[in-house]
């Protein structure tokens, strides 16, 4: 892979909607739920909720502000590639890519929506961006991810009572990828485990298709058995893809300077850093402040680490995540080039 034209993740900027919402918000609605004490659903202290009239496109525009500020309007407007992922597209038929490009003032040659990447979408998008740029499709790519299910789907009156609803939080992020060796993407591993693709389900009572009208509000169909399987898969997959990248770049996991992952719950965070033999201070997360940020977890945590000075020029950061009930996982290593204001 070293012969490949160097492609860099130059910067990320992020957006967390509104004021933090404390765990009490959910406690007031909580009903008895047999999954309440489940390790997967122990609530974070805070999370953010997308506002009622705020669209995924709004979130991405706000997330991009940091990039515009640091790299200039042209860096965003002139990008050749836009890759997007939205947890809950404003309009499910056609996704968010076109609208986001328009809002950002872009006329890119490529606009691609990634839905399958789930919580690992940022890694999948980096792989795609890297390959497109390296093959001559442009000089700059923008990756935009928006997680907006917390203030929407999980905050429905009958859903927010459930244990699962206190965990998600909303947020968005935009990453800037360019043809350069300033902050090179060292390697990326993406794996699809299609056999698990059907395991994440929407539970609606009475049953209906998600697009059909009906009285029941949709939530994620969790059972104890399913949670245990997902825990076991996540425990396995995130280290697996991280090791694969480490092998190829010739690094021991314990020598990584920083790990950022998605953050479904505290158990995964602990298990993954244990698996990579990294101390807590080398694994930046925002779980207590933001909850489960889905696909925005990696870039928000990366941004946090950069802002707090935990990632320095020359450091190698591993970004890793798995998606849904374990149907996709990805890891990417970047040798961070530093943030130029």
């Amino acid at each position: 892979m070293t012969s490949q034209t160097p492609v860099s993740l130059l910067d990320v900027s992020t957006y967390l909607p509104g004021e933090p919402i404390s765990a009490d918000y959910y406690a007031q609605f909580a009903d008895s739920d047999e999954l309440r004490d489940n390790l997967m659903f122990r609530a974070p202290k805070f999370r953010h909720h997308v506002a009622e009239d705020e669209t995924a496109i709004d979130m991405v525009e706000r997330a991009a502000a940091g990039l515009v500020e640091r790299h200039g309007q042209d860096a965003v407007v002139g990008a050749d590639v836009l890759i997007t992922h939205t947890q809950m597209p404003d309009m499910p038929f056609y996704g968010g890519g076109g609208g986001m490009a328009h809002r950002l003032g872009m006329k890119p040659n490529w606009v691609i929506d990634l839905h399958n990447g789930g919580c690992a979408a940022f890694v999948l998008a980096m792989k795609l961006a890297r390959n497109l740029l390296a093959s001559g499709e442009g000089r700059t790519a923008l990756i935009a991810v928006a997680q907006n299910s917390a203030g929407t789907a999980f905050d429905q009156p009958t859903v927010r009572r459930k244990a699962q609803s206190a965990v998600p939080g909303d947020g968005a992020a935009v990453g800037l990828v360019t043809l350069s060796d300033e902050s090179p993407i060292l390697d990326i591993e993406c794996r699809t485990y299609g056999e698990y693709a059907g395991d994440m389900t929407l539970a609606i009572d009475p049953p209906r298709k998600w697009w059909q009208a009906g009285p029941g509000e949709a939530c994620i169909g969790f059972t104890e058995a399913k949670i245990t399987k997902v825990l076991a898969r996540g425990n396995r997959q995130v280290p697996e893809v991280s090791y694969a990248v480490c092998d190829r770049i010739g690094m021991q996991p314990k020598d990584l300077d920083l790990l950022v992952t998605n953050q479904p719950n505290r158990a995964f965070l602990r298990n993954w850093r244990e698996a990579l033999e990294l101390p807590k201070e080398k694994h930046t997360d925002t779980f207590e402040d933001c909850g489960n940020l889905f696909a925005a977890g990696i870039p928000v945590n990366l941004d946090r680490a950069i802002t707090e000075g935990r990632l320095k020029k020359g450091d190698v950061v591993m970004m890793a995540a798995f998606a849904h009930a374990g149907d996709f996982a990805g890891a990417a290593a970047v040798q961070w080039g530093g943030r130029t204001a």
């Binding site: 004490d37 104890e224 158990a267």
Partner: protein, 221 residues
């Protein structure tokens, strides 16, 4: 009617609360037990937690269980499938064999094999240097794979327990002078070492079985 399970302990403690360390559905319903279980599920487990006190390795061997049991229950099979035990000869004491463990120079190892055909257990009671106190015990069991894996063949289970003598040689006077190593120095390698030996056993037994050779070779009969 449920059985009077643990009634004696309730009588003894004088209250129906479970004693420490007991997790049963009556006092820890699933919503209470599941978090405990999930807390215990990790991505990785420290070596010492897996191999520190009990060193267990298991494998499937494509060879009929009774034939594999017969082979293992002959102490001299160790001459073939172990990494370093060589030169088995009978001693004056019936059932006690003397060999050399080439891991230690000039190191004698004594072995007595206790096998039970019905359970297909084969326990090698061994010790370095002396044959009076056989404290290194290799507990093995051959299971019919048809029963546990729904396919022909054998499953071999093998556990060693971390006897305190692994840490301190109780019979230093029996050791050859100047020997730089003690068997317990290798305890941390046992997981890997025993796996390697189990692979030896698998390769040998499967070769014989697949090629129509008796699993227990003629020279041992």
């Amino acid at each position: 009617m449920s059985l009077p399970a643990l009634d004696d302990i309730v009588d003894h403690t004088g209250n129906p609360e479970p004693i420490d360390g007991v997790v049963r559905i009556e006092t820890a319903p699933r919503e209470k037990a599941t978090p405990i279980i999930m807390e215990m599920m990790r991505s990785v487990y420290p070596h010492d937690q897996v191999f520190g006190e009990y060193c267990t390795v298991n494998d499937y061997v494509d060879c009929p269980p009774d034939e594999l049991f017969d082979y293992l229950s002959d102490t001299r099979s160790l001459e073939e499938w172990t990494y370093s035990l060589r030169g088995f000869t009978p001693t004056d004491e019936p059932g006690l064999w003397l060999a050399y463990d080439r891991l230690g120079s000039e190191t004698e190892i004594y072995t007595r094999t206790v096998a039970n055909r019905e359970a297909r257990t084969v326990d090698y009671h061994c010790a370095w240097d002396q044959g009076t106190h056989l404290w290194m015990v290799y507990l093995m069991r051959v299971v019919d794979a048809q029963v546990v894996l729904n396919k022909p063949g054998s499953v071999v289970l093998w556990t060693n327990c971390h006897h305190p003598f692994y840490d301190n040689n109780p019979y230093p006077e029996a050791a050859p002078s100047q020997r730089p190593v003690w068997v317990g120095d290798f305890w941390d390698m046992f997981g890997a070492g025993h796996e390697l030996e189990l692979k030896n056993l698998k390769a040998i037994a499967e070769y014989r079985h697949h090629n129509g050779l008796p699993v227990t070779p003629a020279w041992m009969r």
